[in-house]
Symmetry: D2
Subunit: 319 residues, 4 copies
């Protein structure tokens, strides 16, 4: 890639920057992004605008954190920006270091700059080791560290381990995240296009609104899945935003839309919901094969359709 | 019809006879049977054998009584004799008279001949008016009265009101049935053939076996209907017969197999059941239009399929 | 027992006679009935009247047959005669012999006398071996054989094997029942009294009506059981009798009313049903211990009540 | 209240400060807090520590926003800090103004300081009117405005309308929130204590964990409510935090723990969940009476218990 000519859109990937963020680490896991132009953006809206306007071929964004839960801004944007598809998911282990300008000692730290999510995930360590610290929030994990070199009152910053490759900081403490197994799930978002073929280890993402006036409508929605043996790996409610008490649901399910049981569940969902957004079927990050009872095998669905077709055509059903 | 040539099978209707039974009254409701040969048979097995062997084009049999419940012999035969279809249902009001040989007074009656079902339905009257009577069972309501003229110990018989047209009996009491609204439902059974077109006031009959080893399988079966807004008008369990505790279910549902919601419920049923027998879709005897929530309209099902097809083909779904 | 004085009611057991029936065989299984007066009655109504009037301490009646299903007369009587309790159940293997007057050969048999249930269970043998036979129904299995010595047209009778101890008949064929494993379940019915203590291998019998106007009410009823891990061993619908389409349900469940999970299911049932009749908790005939998930153990229910009581009393719940 | 003596704990209310926040506006709605000491704290953890340590009698915190959804930090703290109770809820309409140092014109604004939630809720206005702006996050809405007078690069701040009473700022634009009906729900949190009496317009808050290894466990949880006619006004999932895919649920339901149907649902929940935290029953902010079907009335539950008690005691149940 050279800076001489503007990068071609079909060779550009947007991500929440700047360089050094966990989002960049996620993008590094995408083989087809290697050697392409990586465009750093400031927020999810900008990332999705790049995709829908054609400025980028895809955008990498965080969608869920094992400690902090769903990323609301991403979930809400996926629900409201039309024309998007999730093409893949990527997991990045999340841990943090406490960094400072060279020469700073830990007992000299009074004010800590940290992105709110990073701060929340390191709170236990900070409260134990810096009980009197103050907190200044940053817009990104990298920006938290960068602020140490700007007009900021912060003495230290919570940052990703890779920060030492980008900035001249000194690590005061490692592994300060409360949960050593914390992981963030990222998704690569594209414009609508052909669905990647099923691999047997797939995930399907949906956004579902429920009918207003029907008690038990969430129960009914869940039955659409359970009666087809479809397991949910994520179910989060998000306010639709017009008034308290109205929600949409963010759903991840095990399986691919080309799996008969998933397709049939989608049909049931579509019939009973005022709005279903299909966000994509894509390989699971962990490549773990989807398990389900053999009574929901594709053949069972196909055989039942053949049987019904026989009845409707007036032919004997073979007994 | 003449006796000169044997009746043509396609002009023969079998029914549980003899002439004068309620079954004959049901057959009189079938316009296309008028003027054809009516063959009186002794039991359900014989009636169905006539149909499957081609000796008759159809057989009329009782399937349910409002007082006595499902007719087990009919239900079991429909479950085990292959190749049958229900082509229509007919309702016959059921009431009874007490008859005797001319000249008999009510206080001379000590022994009553009656078909067990008729006896059960008249028991209250008999116990009140003839507290010390004995009971001799008959094979049919007509035979009960006929026995009065054979070597029988009976002094009176419980019989259909129309018996006076066939036999020289005297009516000792009218309307002796315990329930003045009692009604029996009959079905006209044919060999498998094209399904009658839907009328909007249809019924569909099924026999369903449940998987053995799964608790909650009846619940799951009922959900196949409820999640598609399909109402059941009949659900009866019948032992499969091999051991205590194993059942099949006789199901009547509101709607026609060509209704999308019914077809989809049948698919779900077929997938989850080791054995589903489709017995037919046919107009309801009472011609009452089937009511269901508009969210289960045909268009809803068709639209959902179009939506899914769009997703699978990789085309935008129009948002 | 002597005939000099009338038998004391508390020493009398009623049963569907006459001597030699399967019902008598069931009564022989009751240790406390040994040596007492056994009163043969003609029908279920008479048996229950003996109990409610105090003429007998208990009555033995058939309630379910593995081939023919529930005994409607018994089920309906239990639903409508108040003040009854089931005190125990008893299983009797059911098979049949074909008997005739001494000297009769099988090929001389043209008309067979048989109780309708026995006839239904032997039909396959009869149709194969006596294809042209006629059928005369009897009021009991013993009466069928007895009729051979009365003014009857029957040449042979279907009867229980023990008939040879009571009548001078010759056995033309053995084991003519279609199902060699056929078994009939009998119950010993008493007036309401203290419930027998639980044994861990118990059954509870109920009759439940469903609210009229609510679709899905059967589903809701079944959920009352499934959400407490209570398994049903019998579920039969019986028409209430006032019009087509209105049913009550005969329910047998695994467990004792003193089991917490059963008691809680009964509460849920009572709340949602216009009418629940508790017919009794009693040891299972097969003495097989009831299996259920440990999450429905008594302690779980007791602990939850303690927890709620703590909340309601304003005390900390111990966390 | 004077500053001479330290404020008595039972006269102290903690809230997310500083003065001027929406949280302070919520606290103003609490009659018994009038004239007491109001202690401004920096975060939810501090607020709850005040309550559990006895430094304050109660703390006011935001729990849900109609646009942004549940406040994760509050939900997670309620799930993990033991000994807390919600004593009441309060609604505060949420809107924003854009403020600047006096003399600043709108077209001079390049960088905006705003709390992330306020920023998210004003994004549409900001993107339309200040398309090239940068964003600096603040720890509170008031702090955003205060930063204008500190060493900050911000030219303007998003702040609550009441800010003009506290700071010498100029309003550049009013009503810049995207949703004019936006409202935030606050709860007053105390230590465990007696539950406020029921008013008929109550809400109950719970946190529920689901058993790990059981598919359909969310469905089963929802059925605990639906089978007792208990409506949910809030259901949010929050990661338990130890690994992706493990959730607890934040539940608000219509009714009071002293309502029989609610108490019974809690029992069912406790039995089926590894962990249920009762957070309190308290009057609804909108005072709207809870509606439910009369079949879930208290009397229905009481009558069923009496019925069962009669059965268990061996007494006739009055039929």
């Amino acid at each position: 890639m050279t800076d001489a000519a503007p990068p071609r859109p079909d060779e550009t990937y947007s991500y929440l920057g700047p360089a050094g963020t966990f989002t960049e680490a996620a993008l590094k896991q995408v083989p087809e992004a290697a050697g392409k132009h990586w465009r750093s953006v400031n927020n999810v809206g900008e990332a999705f605008a790049d995709v829908t306007s054609g400025r980028s071929i895809a955008a990498m964004i965080a969608i869920e954190n094992s400690v902090d839960g769903g990323v609301s801004a991403t979930q809400d944007a996926l629900a409201t920006v039309p024309g998007l598809r999730i093409a893949g998911e990527y997991l990045v282990p999340v841990n943090f270091v406490l960094v400072a300008r060279p020469g700073t000692a830990l007992d000299e730290v009074h004010v800590v700059n940290a992105h709110p999510v990073a701060y929340a995930q390191s709170r236990r360590w900070l409260e134990a080791n810096l009980p009197d610290h103050g907190h200044i929030p940053a817009t990104s994990n990298v920006q938290a560290a960068a602020s140490l070199f700007e007009s900021s009152n912060a003495d230290a910053a919570v940052a990703p381990p890779g920060i030492v490759d980008h900035l001249d900081v000194e690590v005061l403490a490692e592994q300060i995240g409360d949960n050593p197994n914390a992981v963030t799930r990222f998704v690569l978002v594209t414009r609508k296009r052909a669905i990647p073929p099923r691999t047997g280890a797939d995930k399907t993402s949906l956004i579902v609104e429920l009918p207003d006036d029907e008690p038990g409508s969430l129960l009914a929605m869940l039955e659409q899945f359970s009666t087809r043996g479809v397991n949910l790996s994520l179910l989060e409610s998000r306010p639709i935003g017009d008034e308290l008490g109205r929600y949409r649901f963010v759903v991840d399910l095990d399986g691919h839309v080309e799996d008969e049981r998933v397709a049939d569940a989608l049909l049931g969902l579509r019939r009973s919901s005022p709005n279903v957004i299909f966000l994509g079927s894509y390989p699971r990050a962990d490549r773990r094969e989807v398990e389900y009872h053999s009574k929901y095998d594709d053949e069972i669905f196909i055989e039942a359709r053949d049987w019904l077709r026989g009845i409707l055509s007036g032919e004997p059903e073979g007994d």
